[in-house]
């Protein structure tokens, strides 16, 4: 089975490289990091934190655009343009099609996130090299901090989850609606933690019950955001990282299974 996932994944990666969208996004991310560097010059003592914070936020935001827009285009473009007719009449099951498309986009995301992270580390290395030892000693965390990689890992898992949501919606919905639903779910998921204690602020029992159900059903995207801790040099336990990655992985698996079940019965008129 894996035989036919790989060619599809490679094709997705190649297509995304030939589409100029990821390049543009990476360029924007790099520009944003450069802007944060300039901003840092104006803020005495806080520059390294601003660079880290803006750099991670830019990686997350531009990754999100790649995940949503390319994630949705993966399936819907094939169906709309009917190139799927050529593909699904080869020895490719629909489950392999979904898995291959998803794997390809994960590789695309990984490469993009890696480029953005490398750019961020380069700026940080330059800053560290430029600053005198007494300024460096006042920092909460080292300039080129390996702990940033923990935050980058969770950003990647978050983007992988967003991609799975986009792919899930695009198996049965139009591209526009899929984009709206995916972004809507991402925003709702960002505020998921607030739903947990919703019963403390509302009196209506059904509303509190609904909030609790939503809290359990919606993905908790705030769990993936550890930028603040990393920037301020606060430790993130390996246990937290592992549990959050496992949470994201389980959610992704469930979404891909659901996408496969829906896609397996779909008519391509």
């Amino acid at each position: 089975m894996s035989v036919n996932i790989k060619p599809i994944a490679v094709h997705v990666f190649r297509e995304s490289v030939r589409d100029r969208v990821p390049y543009t996004l990476v360029l924007f991310a790099v520009l944003l990091i450069a802007a944060s560097f300039l901003l840092g010059q104006l803020t005495a003592g806080q520059d390294i934190k601003i660079i880290k914070d803006l750099g991670l936020a830019a990686t997350s935001l531009f990754g999100l655009f790649i995940a949503v827009f390319i994630g949705i285009a993966l399936v819907s473009k094939e169906v709309e343009r009917r190139s799927i007719y050529g593909l699904l009449t080869k020895p490719v099951s629909r489950a392999q099609f979904i898995a291959g498309k998803y794997a390809g986009l994960l590789v695309t995301l990984a490469v993009n996130v890696a480029i953005m992270t490398a750019a961020l580390y380069l700026v940080l290395a330059y800053m560290t090299w430029q600053e005198p030892a007494n300024v460096r000693a006042a920092w909460d965390a080292p300039g080129v901090d390996p702990a940033l990689l923990g935050a980058v890992l969770l950003i990647f898992v978050e983007l992988a989850l967003v991609t799975a949501i986009a792919l899930f919606f695009s198996t049965f919905s139009t591209p526009m609606l899929s984009a709206a639903l995916t972004l809507g779910l991402w925003i709702a998921g960002r505020f998921n933690a607030d739903l947990r204690n919703f019963d403390a602020v509302v009196e209506s029992a059904p509303a509190a019950w609904l909030a609790r159900v939503l809290y359990h059903v919606l993905p908790d995207f705030s769990a993936f955001d550890v930028k603040l801790q990393v920037v301020h040099g606060l430790p993130i336990s390996a246990g937290y990282l592992a549990a959050t990655v496992a949470y994201g992985g389980a959610y992704i698996l469930a979404l891909l299974l659901a996408a496969t079940v829906i896609f397996a019965r779909r008519d391509f008129k």
Binding site: N4, P7, R82, G86, L87, K90, V92, F268
Partner: protein
């Protein structure tokens, strides 16, 4: 011998309409068999159900009822796709790939090794006439060139059964000639070819058997010679050395008389006439028989009559049935 394609009462209903969904029967209990090595022409006007049938066979859509088999395996079996090739109607492939890259991608899906693909793909692209453009991105290809690439990808795995949906579409006369000779070469190699078309001359030139579909129903199928043999609509006699008064004496027994040259005539007799009797009478009177031929309906005559009689009625019948449902 087991059929290469077996379709058994295949039916496909769609729900149409935005608010109030109503059923629309795209295909109605279609059954047919195609033997291995046959070139089968699946004919019908636009919207008759040809593409629906092909999509059902390719599992791009699922039947409401009925079943189909290819090479003895259910159409849903992914393994059977290793042995078939499919050209969709008005194919579209990935704009940013070259013809060569597309075939490498599809070749990988068939499990072909890189060496195998490198040997096979240039030859295949040459065979369909786009070898010189194999490193050009498909976005720069004309419709006819895309059609040729589509045919190449359908033959990439050396398939036992080839399904071609309107293979002549978008091709110039040269391209159509190439595709015809390609289909005939596939037949000579013992492959089964199932192609849909509304161009009847293609079917007449290529097919051992045809099926005619109209209004979602199969209205006729069989060997061309069998289908058209029943359609003898008259006789054509050519005689020479005949005197004008002899021709006048024939009267209403002849439906049409054409004088080709002095004493030489073409006589058309109605279908129910016995040409032997007339030939005897003419030769006794001194005329010479040059030829006698049955006047058969062309496939086009046959097609037009069946499609107009049965096709329109079929959908109307379904509409009545669906209205009658509780």
């Amino acid at each position: 011998m087991a059929p290469a394609i077996r379709i058994d009462a295949l039916t496909k209903d769609y729900a149409v309409g935005f608010w109030r969904k109503r059923p629309y029967r795209a295909l109605d209990r279609l059954s047919l068999e195609v033997a291995p090595g046959e070139v089968f022409g699946f004919l019908g006007p636009n919207g008759a159900g040809k593409t629906t049938t092909l999509k059902l066979l390719m599992q791009l859509i699922f039947p409401t009822t009925g079943r189909a088999e290819i090479l003895g395996r259910p159409v849903g079996d992914v393994a059977v796709r290793r042995r078939i090739g499919f050209l969709p109607e008005n194919p579209y492939f990935y704009d940013n790939l070259t013809a060569e890259e597309l075939l490498h991608y599809f070749g990988e899906l068939f499990g072909q090794s890189a060496a195998d693909r490198r040997a096979r793909i240039p030859a295949l692209l040459d065979r369909v006439g786009v070898g010189a453009e194999r490193r050009l991105q498909l976005r720069k290809f004309s419709k006819g060139m895309i059609q040729r690439v589509g045919i190449a990808q359908a033959l990439l795995n050396d398939p036992d059964v080839v399904f071609l949906d309107e293979p002549m579409s978008g091709l110039d006369p040269l391209g159509r000639r190439d595709v015809r000779s390609l289909i005939l070469s596939l037949r000579d190699q013992g492959r089964t070819v199932f192609f849909s078309s509304h161009i009847l001359s293609d079917a007449e030139a290529l097919c051992s058997r045809v099926g005619i579909v109209a209004g979602g129903r199969l209205v006729a199928s069989g060997r061309l010679s069998e289908l058209l043999a029943f359609e003898t609509r008259g006789w054509e006699l050519v005689i020479s050395d005949a005197r004008p008064e002899l021709i006048e004496r024939l009267g209403a027994r002849v439906s049409r008389t054409i004088e080709i040259a002095p004493g030489r005539y073409t006589l058309e007799l109605p279908g129910d006439a016995a040409p032997e009797q007339l030939v005897a009478e003419l030769t006794t009177a001194g005329a010479r028989l040059v030829s006698v031929n049955p006047l058969r309906a062309t496939l086009e005559d046959f097609f037009v009559r069946h499609v107009t009689e049965t096709g329109a009625g079929a959908r109307a019948a379904f509409a009545d049935e669906s209205h009658a449902r509780p």
